[in-house]
């Protein structure tokens, strides 16, 4: 389960050490934008030691490495891969070839380390106009890719437009990323909401992302995590309905009936699938009902 992903600067021990107590489903230990060029070496060693030493119980570790156009990305992978983070996030991924380049080096590294292939997964960060246009190719470039993630700050700069709270400028990109990810059978993650003090804003932004079909959303502040987790968790009403759907279907099967309705609405395959997803999520959150 990956509703919320929290960015933590890779060279900041006090934030990293508390990474598993902030309420995020996943933490993104950032070796890229949050680290000055002359501190890349220090961040790499600090994150590597933290991954080796700290348990980070119950949360997923994602490492955002540096992009292909820097001299750092191979060193980042050399240091991080032995620690077996669940995911590597690759910034400025603009085409399938970018994914394949990371993938090839990760495969080589896994072989050298004696790891099973694809033991460390990839989440390409799409934050260029070219990347958005190539989103499906990026998502389906490799089995190693489990999700794609929209980065709106760099994208807005590439689009030469202002990044706004309302996010009209990224509406197309959001739709495109979700569509591409789902078409490729992968997850899609939404860009962070950057006003740390706007509680209403984050709720609306997370709700929009959920409504568009995103799997979850990234955050740059622990303050936003509750709103994100809430938006991407099923409500009690949704869970009740999901169990009712499955119960009705079971009953119809026992009675040999084909088409069935619940609350005046036909229950078809997509509704059943959605109910199953809701229950799976509810169970992962400890909200499942054993007696159903």
């Amino acid at each position: 389960m990956r509703r919320s992903m929290l960015f933590l600067p890779g060279n900041t021990p006090n934030l990293i050490l508390n990474g598993d107590s902030l309420g995020a489903d996943a933490i993104i230990l950032d070796l890229e934008d949050a680290v000055a060029p002359d501190q890349k070496d220090a961040a790499r060693v600090l994150v590597r030691n933290a991954l080796k030493t700290l348990e980070f119980r119950g949360i997923e570790k994602i490492i955002r490495i540096n992009s292909l156009d820097t001299p750092y990305w191979k060193k980042d992978l050399d240091e991080m891969m032995p620690c077996r983070p669940e995911l590597i996030m690759t910034p400025k991924t603009s085409c399938a070839e970018d994914v394949l380049q990371f993938d090839a080096y990760m495969s080589e590294t896994e072989e050298r380390l004696g790891f099973e292939k694809n033991s460390v997964r990839l989440m390409p960060l799409i934050e260029t106009a070219l990347g958005v246009e190539n989103a499906y190719e990026i998502a389906s470039a490799s089995d190693r890719v489990v999700a794609i993630f929209l980065g709106a700050e760099d994208l807005s700069a590439d689009l030469r437009c202002e990044r706004t709270k309302e996010g009209k400028e990224i509406f197309y990109a959001r739709g495109r990323i979700v569509m591409a990810a789902r078409a490729a059978g992968k997850d899609a993650f939404d860009t962070p909401f950057t006003d740390v003090n706007d509680d209403e804003g984050i709720r609306a932004d997370a709700a929009l992302a959920k409504a568009l079909g995103f799997t979850g959303k990234a955050s740059i502040s622990p303050r936003h995590l509750d709103a994100i987790n809430e938006a991407f968790s099923p409500s009690e009403k949704e869970i009740d309905y999901a169990y009712e759907v499955l119960k009705t279907i079971r009953l119809a099967e026992q009675q040999g009936r084909g088409a069935v309705a619940l609350l005046g609405k036909m229950i078809d395959k997509p509704i059943v699938m959605r109910a199953q997803q809701t229950i799976k999520m509810a169970e992962a959150l400890g909200l499942g009902r054993e007696d159903e």
């Binding site: 021990p13 006090n14 070496d41 220090a42 030691n49 933290a50 080796k52």
Partner: protein
């Protein structure tokens, strides 16, 4: 020492971190530590620093450390980076 040691620094003065400076010296290792946990962990911090300098083959140097409550994994990370920088090894 088979390498030339340069002056180097690493870390920050933020909570849970440690700031360090290493510079060449004429004779032996000198470690100067200021720590918010001096009473409880001062000796073990100095011992860790001495051990890592020795493992790196550094025999003559002065190490200044200002510790703001860094955990051992942070101390080790900062020392490793500091030593690599002082030995003029890798760039970032």
């Amino acid at each position: 020492m088979r390498f030339k040691l340069s002056k180097a620094s690493c870390g920050t003065l933020e909570s849970s971190d440690v700031y360090m400076e290493l510079e060449p010296a004429d004779e032996g290792i000198e470690i100067v530590l200021q720590s918010v946990v001096e009473k409880q962990f001062g000796d073990s911090i100095r011992a860790l620093a001495a051990e890592m300098l020795s493992e790196a083959g550094i025999e003559n140097a002065k190490l200044n450390m200002i510790d703001k409550g860094a955990l051992e994994c942070t101390l080790r990370a900062r020392l490793e980076t500091l030593i690599a920088r002082a030995k003029g090894g890798e760039d970032a």
